[in-house]
């Protein structure tokens, strides 16, 4: 008797223990998934935030060496300033930081502490302040990427010299400049404004932000009306027949087609058959529109379906035609849902990379695009491009680009949620 009871108790304990274990597995699995969200964000954030400020080095530029009287600058046009030969003058201004250096090799090393555009930066300073240039002006010049990374602590100083991109003598110069208080940080505005560059310290996401905006604009202009009209037709007007069924199957299938296949479509039909210009936001936008259409159509149909029949019937009862009932009464009620679906579709399109690679939006573009017909990159493509580069400066720039991309996506999704909360009517 006691044996059997003990047996029962044992078996019950076993079952309860396995229940506990199972529960722990479940919690473990969910924590695993949650942990990766956290790891991903921390990883991107910790390596990316430093791209938003940059190292500048303060240099005294004796403009008196360039011209006898600095007031003369105010009479010069921008073109005259562009024609001034300033290269050796700018170099000398930099040598002025360490007047004792004699050796040519060391001088070269000193110059390399700065970005290759130091001459251009001095020229720009001159252009924008030409009316009141003093004999000597203090200018903040962009440091080279190596210096920038060392200053931010991203680059190990204790490697062997021949494994390091920055040399011992440059570190000596740099430390001395730091001691003299000439090295400082400033907000990295050029990163947000400029196009791509082969030099990490000069590369910016401005071009790809504008490219992304143009692309999304094209997607919005094309897919919003087409998607909503298609949804209205299918949900309100289409009779149940083979054509309608076929359209529906097509839409559902398109939603499942891998994005890269849309890239092949863009390459084969839009570029090679229709001959639209390669690498442009226009073509990128067309391809991404085709990709986002199913999302918009499905969301809009769902919200049209959620409109109660009483609204349609009420309109019809007071003498509206079918078209009037739909356009004046049903569609306005379903609009928040359609907008939400569109925004989510646009967010998908904004993050999409693979089809853009195939239609050539991976071009190295230095200029910020002016129209949707200029060659350009987009934010996710910029991430891809920079992640292929070896220089250390690109790592933080890539992460920073991802941060901005995620920021845009979060904003868009937030907008979608807000629209849904604010305007959606419950029946």
């Amino acid at each position: 008797m006691t044996d059997r009871i003990e047996q029962r108790i044992n078996s019950l304990n076993k079952r309860l223990n396995s229940e506990k274990r199972f529960r722990i597995y479940c919690i473990g699995a969910m924590s695993f998934a949650l942990a990766w969200v956290l790891i991903l964000f921390l990883n991107i954030f910790s390596s990316g935030y430093s791209a938003f400020y940059r190292t500048v080095i303060q240099v005294d530029v004796p403009f008196l060496n360039l011209i006898e009287d600095t007031t003369q600058f105010s009479e010069m046009s921008s073109e005259d300033i562009n024609n001034l030969s300033m290269y050796s003058f700018s170099k000398k201004a930099i040598y002025g930081l360490f007047p004792d250096i004699e050796e040519k090799k060391d001088k070269k090393m000193l110059i390399r502490l700065f970005s290759i555009e130091f001459e251009q930066e001095i020229r720009e300073f001159l252009k924008s302040n030409k009316s009141n240039i003093n004999e000597t002006e203090t200018i903040y010049l962009t440091a080279s990427d190596d210096v920038d990374q060392v200053n931010k602590g991203n680059y190990p100083r204790d490697l062997d010299e021949d494994k390091r991109r920055i040399k011992d003598i440059q570190l000596l110069f740099f430390d001395d400049l730091v001691d003299r208080g000439l090295v400082s940080y400033e907000f990295n505005l050029p990163f947000l404004m400029r196009g791509d560059s082969r030099e990490p310290e000069l590369a910016g996401v401005g071009g790809s932000i504008v490219g992304s905006l143009f692309t999304i604009l094209v997607v919005l202009i094309l897919s919003f009306p087409i998607g909503i009209f298609a949804a209205i037709y299918l949900e309100e007007f289409a009779s149940k027949n083979r054509v309608t069924d076929f359209i529906e199957i097509n839409i559902n299938n398109l939603a499942a087609v891998p994005s890269i296949v849309f890239g092949l479509l863009g390459l084969g039909i839009i570029l090679n058959t229709f001959g639209l210009p390669r690498s442009t936001p226009l073509v990128g936008g067309i391809v991404l529109s085709l990709m986002t259409l199913p999302t918009i159509i499905i969301a809009t149909r769902a919200s049209l379906r959620a409109v109660p029949p009483s609204i349609r019937e009420g309109a019809l009862a007071v003498g509206a035609t079918k078209m009037q009932a739909v356009m004046h009464h049903v569609v306005p009620v379903a609009m928040p849902g359609a907008l939400t679906g569109t925004i989510i579709g646009l967010a998908q399109a904004l993050g999409e990379t693979a089809p853009l690679l195939l239609i050539g939006m991976v071009a190295f573009v230095v200029d910020v695009p002016q129209t949707p017909l200029d060659a350009s990159a987009s934010l996710p493509v910029q991430v891809y491009l920079w992640s292929e580069s070896a220089e250390r400066g690109y790592v933080e720039k890539t992460s920073a680009t991802i941060m901005m991309l995620l920021g845009f996506l979060i904003l868009m999704n937030l907008a979608a949620v807000l629209i849904r909360r604010k305007f959606e009517t419950k029946w």
Partner: protein, 463 residues
């Protein structure tokens, strides 16, 4: 030019709306007789006549313009008869560049200068002609439609008919997209298979399209082609990486779904579910960057610590990160399916004295199995079609391997590798990418189809 012209057309459209509206109101007041439609429908009617034909004409002119210009400008060269088609198109580019002030060559200067003049002339003429025809047409049709307004005209019917046709056309875009995809893939694939036998593509063990440098297919030995385009290593690599991804995402996704639907309090559910779904909203290029820069080196270091040789582009790293990406697909689909199992089944099981785990494993999962399997299949199709993670983190060279620590390449990676940057369009190398694309398209569609069928056929109805 296009922008100004389109703005002008829109402007005409807006004015003609008011014109039609005004004319209809006028008719009504002057004759004391009712019109068939409300007055603003006459406005829409006139505006449609003003805008739609004009836009169609503009579209036609823009699509045929470049062909016509090329023929006209090159007519002298064509008359000479000594140029091939490719040379002619090169020549045209050269002429265009010269017209823009970029001078690269100085041969044939007289002919080219003549052609440049012709180009400038024809461009100017066509631009003027476009303005005249489009705006003229628009204006004429406005006049026609305004004077067409009378008591018998039911403009509402016409406008509604137009809208219906417009809506229907928009819904055809989905079909046209599918047709476009199938057409572009099939066209190039068939050309590819005319050079490389389909069996060599499907069963060949060696993939090295970069070896095919020769322009003309005639110069190639067919044996070379067959050896370069055996896609089995790509299929194997795709399968390997998808398998690793599923090994990560299936247990995690399923257990998460079970926790969400059966154990979690509503509060936990409310914040945990959206956070996990963030994983589905992150762009894949971000996962690719994460896999290549963080996970791959980590996997390599751990492997080397254990004394293994791990490639820095290991299939394991790419597959693992892809698995994390797929978790939300499985967890939210399965979650919905498990939740939709009727409460009576749970209560029956509890009433028999079963623990929660026993209820879940022996009652709920079997009941929800079709839906869960469906979600797995959708996840597999997602994994196979995923591009950026593998392009950035997996290997680029095809190698037949089953070792997850080795570099493996996938179908999508090879499509990108072949087609990124400049391609020559008639080489079997470029066409092979379309053949891969078609394979991918067919496989993912089949998987989705099977998933739908599984769900449809095996789901039990409880009501």
């Amino acid at each position: 030019m296009g922008f100004i012209l389109i703005s002008l057309i829109i402007l005409i459209g807006i004015t003609s709306y008011f014109l039609g509206n005004f004319r209809a109101k006028n008719l009504r007041t002057s004759n004391q007789k009712n019109l068939k439609s409300l007055s603003h429908y006459y406005g829409y009617y006139v505006a449609l006549w003003a805008v739609v034909p004009a836009l169609l004409i503009l579209l036609m002119i823009t699509s045929f313009k470049s062909f016509f210009i090329e023929q006209y400008v090159l007519s002298d060269f064509i008359a000479l008869g000594s140029y091939t088609e490719t040379e002619l198109s090169l020549l045209f580019t050269q002429i265009e560049n010269t017209a823009l002030g970029i001078k690269l060559f100085d041969e044939n200067t007289i002919l080219i200068d003549g052609a440049v003049n012709k180009l400038n002339y024809i461009n100017k003429t066509i631009e003027n002609l476009t303005y005249v025809t489009v705006l003229g047409f628009s204006g004429l049709l406005v006049l026609y439609s305004v004077f067409n307004i009378n008591h018998k005209l039911n403009s509402r019917k016409i406008v509604e008919k137009f809208l219906l046709v417009l809506y229907f056309t928009c819904s055809l875009v989905a079909i046209m997209t599918t047709v476009g995809i199938i057409f572009s893939l099939l066209y190039e694939t068939l050309r590819f298979f005319s050079q490389v036998p389909i069996t060599d593509f499907l069963f060949g063990l060696n993939w090295s399209p970069q070896r095919v440098f020769v322009r003309e297919a005639g110069d190639l030995d067919t044996r070379d082609l067959a050896n370069a385009f055996g896609a089995v290593p790509l299929f194997a690599g795709t399968f390997l990486i998808a398998l690793i991804a599923m090994c990560v995402s299936v247990p995690v996704g399923l257990l998460t779904a079970i926790y969400m639907s059966e154990y979690a309090s509503p509060k936990v559910r409310d914040w945990a579910k959206p956070i996990i779904e963030i994983l589905a909203g992150i762009p894949t290029v971000v996962y690719g960057f994460f896999a290549a820069l963080t996970v791959a080196p980590l996997v390599r270091d751990i492997g080397q610590g254990a004394g293994l040789t791990v490639s820095s582009e290991s299939a394991l790293a790419a597959g693992f990160v892809m698995g994390i990406m797929i978790i939300p697909f499985i967890s939210s689909l399965s979650d919905d399916v498990i939740k939709s199992v009727p409460q009576s089944l749970r209560e029956g099981s509890y009433a028999m004295g079963a623990t929660k785990r026993e209820t879940i494993v022996k009652v709920l999962l079997p009941a929800a199995l079709p839906g869960i399997v469906g979600s797995f299949l959708l996840a597999v199709s997602r994994a196979i079609g995923e591009t950026m993670i593998v392009v950035m983190a997996a290997g680029l060279n095809a190698k037949l391997t089953a070792n997850p620590l080795d570099a493996a390449t996938t179908i999508t990676t090879q499509i990108v590798v072949i087609l990124i940057g400049d391609q020559e369009f008639d080489s079997p190398k470029t066409q092979s990418a379309f053949a891969l694309g078609l394979t991918l398209f067919v496989v993912t569609l089949a998987l989705n189809f099977i998933a739908l069928q599984v769900v449809k056929k095996y789901t039990e109805r409880y009501d």
